[in-house]
Symmetry: C2
Subunit: 218 residues, 2 copies
């Protein structure tokens, strides 16, 4: 089987991507600790998900992001706002060029591991807030990977035209253990139920008509 | 003055870029420790060069590169080969997608610091060996920065069409303290004089007709 690197946060999109990819590639999953409030919970989820999917798992720490970058998603930043994901207040949770940094590292790992493919779970709902989820960004960073490596490493984003609801439907088919995934920006023991990702998560299960196994505080 | 981030290794190309940029921007220089054999010497040089150029200086450590990536440039890799920079043996010193990773981090820093420009000292002589010095790579990663940030951060590479000889001539004009710069891949107290970068460095001074202040072992 061909090798691939999967970027795995531990949330439901990347968990679904992991299980999708494990059917097609010999997968090494990579998780980044960049100092967000929810990184610790994400890591625990990511490690367990990789084990269940039969994939290798690599954790990469990027402490300089929390030290130097500006974002309310970080431990060094302010409070995470409540409300819908598309609200402008959620802009304070953007970590500058985070996805560019993570994908670049994944490309370097891929070249080192002799994998031609980096898999990434960007989806149609991400575009509104995050400049580094836009199709234009993804096209450019993928081109940089192709040009900047001997192997011509490519970023593949199979969910780019899907909505989160469709990812829940696909994950359900693939028997992804959704109850193990973690995505709340506040990083508490339970999902808060009110931050942007929690609101989006709830909505996706509701629209998909799939039972949401998540225990929310609110 | 507008702000800019300058990627500064401590070698003569990036030192010249630093002094060139300091006349045009309020500069924060960023140096990366990714576990190469010569990173320690480079850092000392970079710190002192930034001080002399009146620029801020940030050191970012990326220990995962030495731990996980394959390259003879790294402390975890094999011996650095001798010979000319363009020889195929030098390929073993390529660190997979290193420049993609460094530039992505610089783009994120720029967005955090409200700087629209990242300056990078790639030059015409780099293209032969390093896929992540090719103009196609640079165009793509710059496009990724523009698309993937709110500010539309751009990578500017003023030396891209210059040969190292021309950089020495420009640095001489700008009174860059070449004697403080460090580039030897072997990381010894003196430049070895026989590795790819040392051979290239010597040649550049000779072709420029400028006295080379470097003390070489060989």
């Amino acid at each position: 089987m061909e090798k691939a690197i999967v970027t795995l946060s531990g949330g439901l999109d990347s968990a679904t991507l992991l299980f999708w990819s494990a059917k097609r590639f010999e997968v090494s999953a990579v998780t980044f600790d960049y100092g967000s409030k929810h990184n610790e919970k994400e890591q625990t989820a990511a490690k367990e998900l990789a084990r269940l999917a039969g994939a290798g798992h690599i954790l990469i720490r990027l402490p300089f992001i929390n030290d130097l970058f500006q974002s309310d998603l970080l431990r060094s930043g302010g409070k995470v706002p409540d409300g819908h994901y598309e609200d402008s207040s959620m802009r304070s949770t953007v970590v500058p060029f985070r996805n560019g940094i993570m994908l670049s590292i994944a490309i370097g790992l891929a070249e080192s591991f002799e994998a031609k493919t980096v898999l990434y779970a960007a989806h149609a709902g991400d575009h509104a807030i995050y400049p580094d989820c836009r199709p234009g960004f993804l096209k450019a960073i993928s081109e940089a990977g192709r040009e900047g490596t001997y192997l011509g490493v490519q970023i593949v984003d199979p969910f780019i035209d899907m909505h989160k609801k469709d990812i829940v439907l696909l994950g359900n088919e693939l028997r992804v253990p959704f109850g193990l995934t973690y995505s709340c920006y506040k990083g508490g023991d339970l999902h808060c139920g009110t931050c942007g990702t929690c609101v989006e998560r709830k909505e996706a299960f509701r629209l998909a008509g799939i039972r949401d196994p998540t225990q929310y505080e609110a």
